[in-house]
């Protein structure tokens, strides 16, 4: 899947440490969208919905997509710090954020480091905290294709985007993104032991959104965020998996826009 919208433009933001690829579309207050660990698949219908109310920025994380890779980065917190730097450099903060899965973890880390960077935050199927029951599905034991398939509640939705067998170009993109994920999230896998102790300091109004059939990040992680964040609520969406924003774009956008414009 590639960029197929006339709503959005693509640009490379220059920062002192390297370049960041950003898709941008819509109008209104800025909304930062942080993508999954599998990368940003392009300008999604979900972004189109958000772009009706906001100027939507979808950067590719450092080391993902076409963004430069900071070879020195060892942790997800390093990426979060680079994003705070980016927001400061381009004078975008404070703003709203919508973090998807792994991107939700980055958003949560950013919020713990700067309690005022986000006006409101949305964490969708966010990683970053250790499940109280079960594990976050370990992508490093399955192929990229299998991992992405597991992100959907319905195989047909995977095939609609990627076909029954993704081509070599797609596999290469996923591989590049996974390499960066390996560099910063190999162990402990997909969580940070200190994060639950830091989020109680984040008073930012927070909406947690979870696909009812999320097979990647267990729903009990949402409860851990709810328990820690002083100002959060949860919206569970039926008929969606970890990529609930792809499978149920209208429902998720409605929930997110409702929360952000409330």
């Amino acid at each position: 899947m590639t960029l197929t919208s006339d709503v959005a433009t693509e640009e490379m933001l220059e920062l002192p440490w390297g370049k960041v690829q950003v898709l941008k579309g819509g109008a209104g207050d800025p909304l930062l969208v942080l993508h999954h660990d599998t990368g940003n698949p392009g300008w999604l219908p979900f972004y189109d919905e958000l772009a009706k109310s906001f100027t939507v920025y979808v950067p590719s994380h450092p080391g993902f997509g076409k963004s430069d890779r900071p070879d020195w980065a060892r942790t997800v917190r390093d990426l979060a710090t680079l994003y705070l730097w980016l927001l400061d450099e381009f004078d975008l903060a404070p703003l709203n954020v919508c973090g998807l899965g792994f991107g939700g973890w980055i958003a949560a880390e950013m919020a713990t480091m700067d309690h005022r960077v986000f006006r409101r935050q949305v964490l969708i199927g966010a990683a970053g905290v250790q499940p109280t029951d079960g594990e976050i599905l370990d992508q490093f034991l399955v192929s990229t294709t299998e991992y992405v398939q597991m992100g959907f509640s319905d195989d047909a939705n995977f095939e609609r985007l990627y076909g029954s067998e993704p081509d070599l170009d797609q596999l290469e993109v996923w591989e590049i993104n996974r390499e960066m994920t390996t560099r910063i999230a190999w162990k402990p896998y997909m969580f940070d032991q200190s994060l639950p102790h830091l989020i109680p300091g984040v008073k930012t109004p927070t909406l947690l959104v979870w696909g009812a059939n999320d097979r990647i990040v267990p729903l009990n992680c949402a409860q851990r965020y709810l328990d820690g964040l002083p100002n959060a609520r949860l919206d569970v969406i039926d008929g969606g998996g970890h990529y609930v924003e792809v499978e149920r774009p209208d429902a998720v956008a409605k929930s997110v826009i409702g929360f952000l414009t409330d």
Partner: protein, 406 residues
């Protein structure tokens, strides 16, 4: 020539049908199928075979290690090396090798290897490897830092052996307040280091730059020649001329009293559908970040590789089997084609029984190796041990080096 005997130490007593049912025999293959009683028997058979190999005249015993799989019972190479250090008298104990990146404490490793060198009275060759992809998962070592950790652990290992302590190490992946192990190797400046490998160009170049012999693991004659070209070029760049003394080769080679018996047993080399590292998910064998970005696309394309049939591998001399006379003829072609001075004969694998393994070892030691030594002399294939070459570039006198800028 330096002629070694090798076996993967297969755990032949594992339930083959379970492996077929699951579709994998490595990494996640459940260890409930490990049979400790059978494992005890197999360890002792292997030990008896190694001692017999020394008696039959081999120059070296090559050992390797892998984890979480029945294709190799050695999960810690230094354990068997220690046993052999105490129980053998003459053979070189050749570790090919200790996987450095999976090791969180290279100082501890330096101590273990030093002890083995002392107990063996200086008969140790201390090879090092990056470790296969699966080993990274088995030990939870981050594959993305595999090469960085390999090189840093190596530097620390060498410094620990060759620079008097105490000193401090504050590296990128390793940090130690005090490096000052009491036990140091007998061989000075340190035991010889050989580097085995299969595909990685970076590792070939790195080995050449250190002046460590590179041991090509059962590569085709053409692929092996390509490796030497890369090696020779890097050697020239850093200032020395490489030759047979920098080259090793491992070949699967089973001998028996009759050709029929040899062929029957040699089929066991393909016992896990020909996968050297057992049947595994491609992701376990090649975790993201383990390979270089330059070969990323090529690796993704190669995931559905086809393993040549047994007959094809015999034809291509990827497997050699027969009577001593028959295998010597083929090994001569291999030696002429690739010109290594270090040769490891991988004699027995899979379900080959103890009795046949002993016969193979006797024929290798008594008939094949003496003939190979004569061929080696004729082809001027002299090993680094025979020539007493410097153990590394760092140990090479400066005036002997003539680096080229090319």
């Amino acid at each position: 020539m330096h002629l070694m005997y090798f076996t993967e130490q297969p755990m032949s007593a594992y339930p083959v049908e379970e492996g077929k049912r699951l579709g994998y025999t490595a990494t996640m293959f459940p260890n409930k199928y490990f049979d400790p009683v059978e494992a005890t028997r197999l360890y002792h058979e292997r030990l008896e075979e190694y001692l017999y190999a020394e008696e039959m005249g081999v120059d070296g015993i090559m050992l390797n290690e892998h984890h979480n799989a029945p294709f190799t019972m050695q999960s810690k190479i230094n354990i068997f090396a220690s046993v052999l250090a105490g129980m053998t008298k003459r053979v070189k104990i050749v570790l090919l090798g200790n996987p450095l990146p999976v090791c969180d404490n290279p100082i501890r490793l330096a101590e273990e290897i030093a002890m083995i060198d002392l107990i063996s009275k200086g008969r140790l060759v201390s090879g090092i490897v990056r470790g296969a992809g699966q080993e990274q998962i088995a030990t939870n070592a981050n594959p993305a830092y595999n090469r960085e950790r390999f090189e840093e652990a190596h530097d620390l290992l060498i410094k620990t052996w060759s620079v008097p302590g105490p000193f401090r190490w504050e590296g990128n992946h390793y940090q130690f307040r005090v490096v000052n192990p009491w036990v140091l190797p007998l061989q000075k400046p340190h035991p010889r280091i050989w580097v085995p490998g299969v595909v990685s160009r970076e590792t070939v170049v790195w080995a050449a730059e250190q002046r460590y012999p590179y041991i090509a693991l059962n590569t085709t004659i053409e692929a092996t020649k390509a490796i030497w070209e890369i090696y020779d070029e890097a050697a020239k760049r850093v200032g020395y001329k490489s030759g047979p003394e920098n080259r090793g080769y491992l070949i699967r080679c089973h001998v028996a009293e009759t050709e029929e018996k040899a062929i029957e047993n040699a089929r066991e080399f393909l016992w896990m559908q020909g996968e050297f590292l057992g049947l595994a998910h491609p992701v376990w064998a090649n975790p993201s970040g383990y390979g270089s970005p330059a070969t990323r696309r090529q690796r993704l394309e190669a995931r559905k590789r086809v393993i040549p049939s047994f007959e094809q591998q015999l034809e291509m001399m990827q497997i050699i089997a027969g009577t001593p006379e028959q295998v010597v003829k083929k090994l001569r072609i291999l030696l002429e084609g690739t010109r290594p001075s270090i040769l490891a004969l991988w004699g027995n694998d899979g379900m080959v029984n103890h009795e046949d393994s002993m016969t193979c070892i006797r024929l290798l030691g008594q008939e094949v190796m003496p003939a190979l030594r004569e061929i080696g002399k004729e082809l001027e294939l002299f090993s680094p041990i025979e020539l007493d070459t410097p153990v590394s570039l760092a140990a090479t006198p400066q005036h002997e080096l003539t680096p080229s800028s090319a």
